[in-house]
């Protein structure tokens, strides 16, 4: 209990210090409130935030599909293929981000696959780095239940396609959700893997923080960081809401439906 509250206090102090740094004139000397750091950073806050969100949302939505597909094929394959598949899916966990970044620069900077400098390569590296999360959660689900339930569904008269849409997809959706939320956060705050792949056009907010702090503009860095935290939280909320929207609609519809019924004699 004591340890947990101490830890919570530490985190809160960090946030408080950051917020204070962002909204005061000079951190450590002049604590009068001011928005000067935000003004100084200017339009770069908006554009870098825009870039970060651009990557994070795409990776969050597309990434889990790759992880789940990999897990599905892992479940279906046998012998050597199975181990190889597992190894390939888990490698991104083990390799440091910067190492992977350099290897991507080297692999994709000339034809046949020339992607260095594009947004696509950044999205790809982020998706691959996020792969193990959705892969692992999907694998756990599939191992426990899916083949059994697939058989039960076919046995009860459902075609392979119906089984896929009504059983497999709903069962895997928690894995998609986990992959999506993790992916969003990780891409918002990532820097190591993409630092060598960023071009001036695609500067992310984490990169701006790095640059500001590196050149001694602590206040400006804090302003970027504050924006980053705020929008990561907002983005998470938005994605969670988006996720529960269909169910929410369904219950609402059912409620109005049953209300209508009750009116009848």
């Amino acid at each position: 209990m004591g340890g947990a509250s101490l830890f919570a206090l530490l985190v809160l102090v960090q946030f408080a210090a950051l917020t204070a740094g962002a909204f005061t004139t000079v951190w450590g000397y002049d604590y009068s409130l001011s928005l000067r750091h935000f003004h100084k950073a200017g339009s770069q806050i908006a554009s870098s935030l825009n870039n970060s969100l651009y990557f994070a949302i795409r990776v969050a939505l597309i990434g889990p599909l790759l992880g789940i597909t990999a897990a599905y094929f892992h479940q279906r394959s046998r012998g050597l293929w199975k181990s190889l598949m597992n190894f390939l899916a888990l490698v991104p966990f083990a390799v440091p981000g910067t190492v992977m970044g350099i290897s991507y620069v080297m692999a994709f900077h000339r034809p046949p696959i020339q992607l260095t400098g594009t947004a696509v390569v950044i999205i790809i590296i982020c998706i691959v780095r996020e792969l193990p999360i959705s892969y692992n959660s999907a694998k756990a689900v599939l191992k426990q239940v899916a083949s059994n339930l697939e058989e039960a569904s076919r046995d009860l008269g459902a075609t392979a396609w119906t089984t896929f849409t009504r059983i497999i997809i709903p069962i895997l959706s928690p894995a998609y959700r986990a992959g999506m939320l993790h992916g969003f956060i990780h891409v918002m705050i990532t820097i190591g893997a993409i630092i060598f792949l960023i071009t001036p056009r695609y500067v992310t907010i984490t990169f701006e923080i790095f640059r500001a702090v590196n050149s001694g503009r602590l206040g400006e860095g804090a302003a970027y960081a504050f924006t980053l935290i705020l929008f990561t939280a907002l983005g998470l909320t938005a994605l969670t809401l988006l996720w529960s929207l269909p169910r929410l609609m369904k219950t609402l519809l059912a409620r109005t439906h049953s209300l209508g019924k009750d009116d009848l004699p």
């Binding site: 058989e151 039960a152 569904s153 009860l156 459902a158 069962i171």
Partner: protein
């Protein structure tokens, strides 16, 4: 004849799970496939369900070859060992699933399900989450889900193996009742020989991919076709014996240190046994065939006593490799460990 398996075989790697097996299942009967694990009984069930394709042979349903039909087009529905209920659906949705994928409309589904939920006594747990059910309740939901689609044949894959002993007996009686009430054809796989005898119309005993014997529970118990069946179904004693003489009227035998003459109906010969005189044979008798009898010609000593309520099981030392098992009605005989006693045999079989 509803179902017929002709020369069915299945091999997993180097293991022959099922070897050229022939089997017909009659309309409305409950056939139990019983055998030790790895005997091929579950493989047969999965081939009937269409989950596993056979390597050779054909399966006929009412004269139609259904060997290559996909599972969803088959007249069979399975009640799985671990129930395989869909965890993202509640009880009602689980039961409705089979009707829903058949395109039945909501009103008709609801009407149909009500009856089955009442029959299975689960009508008050419609909205319940699957994970909130006990083992017995899951079993009922699984059974309702299978029966609601009106299959021609119901397949049971060791459905009671994860329930505790008392509930297992209750559920098997219930399954038997429902099966008889609805007259549905059922194939039931189990490794529990007692369960097999209790609910079956016919029992098929399997061993290493081969059908050892098929018949009514009484036939299987009293006239086992092989030593394997005799040993697997119920309990029994095997003792070496010498057949001195086998005439039309009488037989003369030596076993358990005695030589004696009996009427020929005392001794049954299995199909495998060779009926010649002067041969060394293996004699088989059930624990209840041993009767304590002061005038009996055999003598033994009680090693151990297990009081089971209505009956008592004794282990009897008789100078054999293993002690003999003897069952008596508790009210008739009471012996204590260490007691020497005389007994007689009411009958035996030769393999």
């Amino acid at each position: 004849m509803t179902l017929a398996l002709k020369e069915i075989s299945k091999t997993y790697g180097t293991v022959e799970a099922v070897k050229k097996l022939n089997l017909t299942i009659q309309e409305g009967e409950l056939l139990v496939l019983v055998g030790p694990s790895g005997c091929g009984k579950t493989t047969i069930l999965r081939m009937l369900a269409g989950i596993v394709p056979p390597d050779g042979g054909r399966i006929f349903f009412q004269q139609q070859d259904m060997t290559r039909w996909p599972p969803e087009n088959r007249p069979t529905v399975t009640v799985f060992q671990d129930y395989a209920l869909f965890p993202h659906m509640n009880v009602y949705q689980n039961i409705a699933y089979g009707l829903k994928v058949r395109g039945m409309n909501k009103g008709a589904i609801q009407q149909k399900i009500e009856g089955f939920m009442k029959m299975m006594q689960i009508e008050d747990m419609k909205e319940r989450n699957i994970n909130a059910l006990s083992g017995g309740q899951k079993q009922r939901v699984a059974l309702a889900r299978a029966m609601v689609v009106d299959p021609d044949i119901l397949l049971f894959d060791e459905p009671l193996s994860s329930l505790d002993a008392k509930l297992r007996v209750e559920m098997r009686e219930e399954i038997r009742q429902i099966q008889q009430k609805t007259g549905i054809t059922a194939v039931y796989v189990t490794h529990d020989q007692e369960e097999a005898l209790a609910i079956a119309d016919r029992v098929a005993v399997m061993n290493q991919g081969v059908m050892e014997q098929i018949g009514s529970p009484e036939e299987i118990y009293y006239q086992p076709a092989s030593a394997f069946v005799a040993d697997f179904i119920g309990y029994g004693n095997f003792v070496p014996a010498t057949l001195q003489e086998a005439m039309d009227e009488t037989v003369t035998l030596s076993c358990l240190g005695q030589t004696f003459q009996q009427h020929s109906s005392w001794l049954n010969f299995s199909d495998q046994a060779v009926k010649v005189g002067n041969g060394n044979v293996t004699l088989f008798f059930r624990p209840e065939s041993m009767v304590p009898d002061p005038e009996g010609i055999f003598s033994g000593k009680v090693l151990q006593k297990s009081f089971l309520g209505a009956s008592t099981r004794y282990l009897v030392e008789c100078n054999q490799e293993t002690p003999l098992k003897m069952d008596t009605l508790s009210v008739l005989h009471q012996l204590e460990p260490g007691d020497p006693f005389q007994f007689s045999l009411t009958g035996a079989m030769v393999f």
